[in-house]
């Protein structure tokens, strides 16, 4: 019954906050956060039940035979629920400080609570229909939250873009679910996992996995459905932290991990997923090197790290991929929240070229982001080190040397751009008062105002806030897991491996593994150090710091177009899909609607009128004309009878 509480409290919060928002005013924040906090505590209480054999199961309703809706809390959903409610709670508390003074304060928390409910529906369902419902609701919550500041056209179009791409993914996952329900005859996971071997041919199995992966690609921002994620940074920073770093974008990873037995039975699908995951990791990292907006850098790093997770669960290293999700949730949330402190302090400046030297003014934020960067780079001892190595070595051990190479290279590039972020933002002297054109910004008004027309639009001059304690404490709390959580996977009898022992299908081992685990770890460490060194030489060295303005200007001007335009994915989508759709709409609006549909209705009316006129013309009022029509009738009768009966006997 506690499971009901966990699942429904956020919904209750969303409804109450949405309905009574104007009355609650600033109480909305504490209420929303408290409800999520209670849900988190309840999840913790349910830990023993969840880890028992078979997990915790609650049936909600039974409809048709084979259609039973219920909730389940097993190990996989427990991990996700803890992150959703735990990190969610911390981000809610942070938001009370970040969104302070916003006009729609309570609405924000309503939407955040709604998101938590939707995500819990996704991970707690024990059937594919509940999964699909949660999937769709999460997309909806993302739309609400990205477009939260809906007076900004850029936010609205970003929200729309995210939603449309998610719908594309929804189509894929729906077809997969249709196939599943048609062949298996039931919607529950348990039935699926026991019967899928007999019910599907290998080709059908691949199709199911392909459909599921299309959904994953959209939700988790993998190539080619990744273009919405950088634009989704239009939403407030807590939204980016919760949805687009820790939870919603990991729904794809959850999906693959949940359907593990099915994926493991289709090696082709696994290859596909692994390749795309690796490709996304690399592509995202490369693009991260070319960004100047602090949130966009983090967005591309999210895309890249999720590529790691997808690669991990794709090739069958499920617990490695899930571990990376677990650690990534903490340090990515921390990075976003820390950057939120910076943005808030600089009155919504997001361009790192106009930052610099904030180490002295925002020491706490610097410490938090330093820890986050060390974690994400996989510096030994920090959490990301364990999970990233697990994923990368898993690729090697299961016989994917090319994916291993991609993973290692990406680790190096990750180190480069994350330290670049750190150096440019926190070291050197403050460049906020430097003329934008000196920094190579061609349209200076774009550098600041794109970010600052948000919720402090009424303030004209930037002023610095010191971060409130509501924002600092959650960040501080997050530092601990960012460092320590990774140790859960230390050693061959690690608690993490024991937690998931027997849960996932075994990973097929490759015939001969070229490198041992120690050597692989050392190789990764070397590559990370190389990345750090390059970043230091370009941005952090004393010489670089002295000439930072000139260097930044040079880099801005010489940035290759491919990187600036994100490999032209957006342009391609615009050409191939958006413009034809608009053209079709225009065609329908100008040609089809007025000339075909309206014309049909108009012509029907005109015909009725014309008939009326015609019959009216018969009513001449003249007796002679009426007599003539009588004569016509008589003539017709006569001719008829003459023809019919006059043929001779």
């Amino acid at each position: 019954m506690l499971l009901y509480l966990v699942w429904l409290l956020p919904l209750f919060g969303a409804v109450v906050l949405w309905a009574f928002g104007p009355q609650l005013k600033s109480w909305g924040g504490p209420i929303g956060s408290a409800l999520i906090g209670v849900a988190f505590v309840a999840t913790l209480v349910l830990w023993p039940d969840a880890t028992a054999q078979g997990g915790l199961h609650v049936t909600l309703a039974s409809w048709l035979p084979g259609w039973a809706f219920g909730l389940q809390l097993d190990r996989l959903s427990l991990i996700w629920s803890l992150i959703i409610t735990g990190v969610g709670f911390l981000i809610h508390v942070y938001s009370i400080g970040y969104m302070d003074g916003d006009r729609a304060f309570a609405r924000f928390f309503a939407y955040m609570n709604f998101f938590v409910f939707a995500m819990l529906t996704l991970v707690l369902s024990d059937n594919v229909i509940g999964l699909l419902v949660g999937w769709g609701l999460v997309g909806l919550a993302s739309y609400f939250l990205i477009g939260f500041w809906f007076e900004r056209p850029s936010a609205v179009s970003a929200a729309r873009k995210a939603f449309v791409m998610n719908v594309v993914g929804d189509v894929g996952i729906m077809f997969a679910i249709f196939l599943i329900v048609a062949k298996i005859g039931s919607i529950g996971y348990a039935d699926l996992f026991t019967r899928f071997g007999a019910a599907f041919t290998p080709h059908e199995l691949f199709l199911v996995c392909l459909g599921l992966f299309i959904g994953c690609a959209a939700k988790s921002a993998q190539i080619p459905l990744h273009t919405w994620l950088p634009d989704a940074m239009e939403g407030p920073t807590p939204v980016s932290a919760l949805i687009h770093a820790a939870t919603m974008v990991t729904a794809g990873v959850y999906l693959i991990a949940r359907f593990a037995p099915v994926w493991s039975a289709s090696p082709d699908a696994q290859e596909l997923v692994g390749v795309i995951g690796g490709l996304t990791a690399l592509a995202g990292a490369i693009l991260g090197c070319a960004q100047w907006d602090i949130k966009r850098i983090l967005a591309y790093s999210t895309m890249s790290q999720i590529g790691y997770m997808i690669m991990g669960v794709g090739i069958g290293a499920y617990d490695a991929g899930v571990l990376h999700f677990f650690t990534h949730a903490f340090f990515k949330a921390q990075l976003f929240l820390g950057s939120g402190i910076v943005i808030h302090a600089l009155a919504n400046e997001q361009d790192v070229r106009r930052m610099g030297g904030l180490r002295k003014q925002l020491p706490f934020a610097f410490a938090a982001m330093l820890v986050g960067v060390l974690a994400i780079c996989g510096v030994p001892g920090f959490s990301g080190f364990f999970s990233k190595d697990a994923v990368v070595y898993g690729a090697l051990a299961s016989g994917h040397p090319w994916l291993y190479a991609v993973g290692v290279i990406t680790a190096g590039i990750t180190a480069y751009y994350m330290f670049r972020l750190l150096f440019v933002t926190f070291f050197g002297q403050y460049r906020g008062e430097v003329d934008p054109s000196d920094l190579g910004l061609r349209h200076p008004e774009l550098a600041g105002t794109a970010a600052s027309s948000g919720h402090h639009a009424e303030e004209e001059e930037p002023h610095h806030h010191a971060p409130s304690w509501l924002m600092s404490i959650p960040v501080g709390i997050l530092i601990v897991p960012s460092v320590l959580i990774g140790w859960l996977d230390y050693g061959p009898n690690a608690p993490w491996k024991q937690f998931f022992a027997g849960f996932f299908p075994r990973v097929p081992e490759a015939a001969n593994v070229p490198l041992s685990e120690i050597v692989s770890t050392a190789l990764v460490f070397v590559v990370v150090v190389i990345g750090f060194a390059v970043a230091y030489w370009r941005y952090g060295a004393p010489a670089a710091l002295r000439e930072s303005v000139a260097r930044l200007r040079a880099e801005t001007v010489r940035m290759p177009g491919v990187l600036v335009n994100a490999y032209y994915f957006d342009a391609a989508y615009e050409m191939l899909l958006v413009r034809p759709a608009y053209a079709l709409g225009r065609l329908i609006g100008t040609v089809l609607d007025p000339h075909v549909l309206d014309a049909g209705v108009r012509e029907a009316g005109w015909t009725a009128q014309w008939l009326g006129h015609l019959f009216r013309s018969f009513q001449t009022g003249l007796v002679r004309v009426y007599a003539l029509s009588l004569a016509l009738g008589v003539a017709c009768f006569v001719v008829y009878y003459a023809l019919a009966f006059g043929a001779g006997r």
Binding site: R616, T620, G621, L622, V623, R624, A627, L628
Partner: protein, 101 residues
Amino acid sequence: MTVSPESYVALSAVLFFIGVVGVIARRNPLIMLMSIELLFNAANLTLVTYARAWANNAGHVFAFLVITVAAAEAAIGLAIVMMTFRRSPHVDVDEVAALKG
């Protein structure tokens, strides 16, 4: 009958359709009524022809009744014509077109 009845029927038909054209083509109401009398008489001729051909008296009786009713109808028709055109300047059925439209 030396002349076959078909000739009489044809003659009657000719008279009938002369009457029809007269009703339609003339505008004086009195001449229209006279054309209608022509129609009656053409029908009578047919009746009498068949009575003779089939040696049946009923044709004569029917013709007699037609004459009677034609008389009554002529009387009433003329009364109506009188009433309608009593005070109108033109004696022309085209003027009585109130049902137009």
